[in-house]
């Protein structure tokens, strides 16, 4: 029965900033164990959708359910409990530069009082190894790492507490194509390892083809297409064709020029 309840369910989600409508009645279901990738142009509302789910932004209306439980209007304690199911890899890494790498990775474990510091450090080193980083990286500061290494540390932090849901915010932005592919591979492996449900937002079509089970395209504040990754090339939508092929000509550009 629980398999029929979406892990994440958005219904009629609205969010505006002043006069600018960013999300207009967005509906989206992500099933348990599914890897959903949300694509769309800059400013289309992808990041706002994730931030609404995480409670970093307050939606203007609609419903957000995690495992069938409504997230909007719940107490801080309930939200904290639900957030303990989440891991997130931020676009810029968002590593705490006042802490060494291992404490960044183990932060959630220590914050939730799940382990003592010695055990948490061991788990952190194991997670670093899982993302291809040697144990001697553990004592470095984030500022001493390259962009690719910072992404790996961010990924290790996202999977450290074996979360049920992992969000990836533009995981390959700013990386060279080879490192992008390495990160994509790691994401697929790590998500499979911990058996998590994954939601990724990206512009990068190579990430989409590698990571996704299903794809949703967001355009003009709404989701205009959802479907399996292997159907995206035959979506029949000019918007999606233009986006996935990266063409200058097409309806999306026309809209931009009109604007």
């Amino acid at each position: 029965m629980s398999d029929l309840i979406p892990k994440i369910s958005l219904k009629g989600l609205n969010k505006s900033f002043g006069d600018k409508v960013v999300l207009d009645s967005v509906d989206l279901d992500v099933m348990t164990g599914e890897s959903m990738v949300i694509i769309g142009g800059s400013g289309s509302g992808k990041s706002v959708t994730l931030k609404c789910i995480l409670g970093l932004l307050e939606p203007d209306g609609g419903s957000i359910k995690i495992d069938g439980k409504e997230m909007i209007g719940i107490s801080d304690t309930e939200r904290k409990e639900i957030l303990s199911k989440f891991g997130m890899l931020f676009q810029g890494g968002a590593l705490f530069d006042s802490l060494p790498v291992w404490e960044n990775v183990a932060f959630g474990l220590l914050a939730q009082r799940l382990h003592n510091r010695a055990d948490a450090k061991e788990i952190a080193i194991e997670k670093l190894r899982r993302v291809g980083l040697s144990p001697d990286v553990a004592i470095l500061n984030p500022a001493e790492l390259s962009g690719g290494m910072q992404k790996r540390v961010g990924l290790a932090r996202a999977i450290a507490a074996n979360p049920e849901i992992i969000f990836f915010d533009e995981p390959t932005t700013g990386l060279d194509p080879i490192m992008s592919d390495v990160i994509n591979e790691l994401i697929v492996e790590c998500v499979k390892d911990v058996g998590a449900t994954a939601v990724t937002i990206t512009h990068d079509m190579s990430s989409v083809r590698k990571i996704a089970d299903n794809v949703a395209m967001i355009y003009h504040s709404n989701i205009i297409w959802t479907g399996p990754k292997d159907k995206i090339d035959q979506s029949g939508s000019d918007y999606i064709d233009q986006f996935i092929n990266g063409k200058a000509e097409g309806p999306i550009k026309m809209e931009i020029l009109k604007g």
Partner: protein
């Protein structure tokens, strides 16, 4: 009509900002008393705010005490009242210059540092990351900083500032102005009252609160990128200095108004 509208807008904007800062302060205090607590963060902040501010606070008050002694000696000699020098130096330093100078220096150092650090954390999504790691930023970032400043200002910085400021006056008075060391110390101790020290420590607590509140408030609410961090840092230092000078007058009135 336009002029009135401008005044109205300024007043509303001021009241709105004051309300936001007030709510921020209440929020910070409620998180201070509710678990979980972060003692490691508190100790780290106490070290950063207290211990590492000592050299600059000490140097400033040493030279201010020395300059005060020279000024008072020159001024009091006009009416043959040079013997009042130790009394005026100790009261001037303990009641006013020690806490106020210490507050302004710590505002420049600590308030700016808090605003820049928290502002950078905001624009690089580190504060959002705390949320996703089940950590309340108010408990982890704000409460330890405000508590550490309120503790370290009176217990370490202002006591040291007062002591070194008086020492600065003593050194100049005994080495250059011809005062006897024993007499100078006796006058200093005899004329210093408990209320002077109480006022000094109260000011230290109040200044510490405003220094950290302004640093945390502006840093936490930073918007934009590097420019936003710069604006927050400037606003934090300016507003902390204004609040120090304003509250200095209020506390002085409370203690010494006849």
């Amino acid at each position: 009509m336009n002029f009135l509208a401008v005044i109205g807008r300024v007043v509303i904007s001021f009241l709105r900002a004051a309300g936001r800062i007030g709510l921020f302060a209440v929020n910070a205090f409620t998180h201070m008393v509710r678990p979980p607590y972060y003692p490691r963060e508190l100790l780290k902040q106490m070290l950063h705010i207290g211990y590492y501010s000592l050299p600059v606070v000490g140097l400033t008050t040493l030279f201010t005490g020395a300059a005060l002694a020279v000024n008072i000696f020159e001024g009091s000699s006009r009416f043959n009242a040079e013997s009042t020098l130790p009394t005026i130096v100790v009261i001037g330093i303990v009641r006013e210059l020690g806490p106020t100078l210490c507050g302004l220096i710590v505002a420049g150092r600590v308030s700016a540092s808090m605003a820049a650090e928290l502002g950078t954390m905001r624009v690089t999504e580190q504060i959002d990351a705390l949320h996703t790691l089940s950590t309340d930023p108010f408990k982890y970032l704000i409460a330890p900083r405000i508590l550490a400043t309120i503790i370290m200002m009176p217990l370490m910085l202002v006591i040291v500032a007062d002591t070194i400021g008086v020492l600065g006056g003593y050194l100049i008075a005994t080495s250059k102005l011809g005062f006897n060391s024993g007499n100078y110390m006796k006058s200093t101790i005899d004329f210093l009252e408990a209320i002077d020290v109480m006022a000094s420590l109260t000011k230290a607590c109040v200044f510490g609160f405003f220094i950290s509140l302004m640093g945390c408030y502006h840093g936490f609410n930073t918007r934009g990128g590097a420019q936003g961090v710069g604006i927050s840092t400037t606003n934090a230092v300016v507003s902390a200095c204004i609040m120090i000078l304003l509250s200095n007058y209020v506390v002085t009135e409370m203690f010494f108004s006849s």
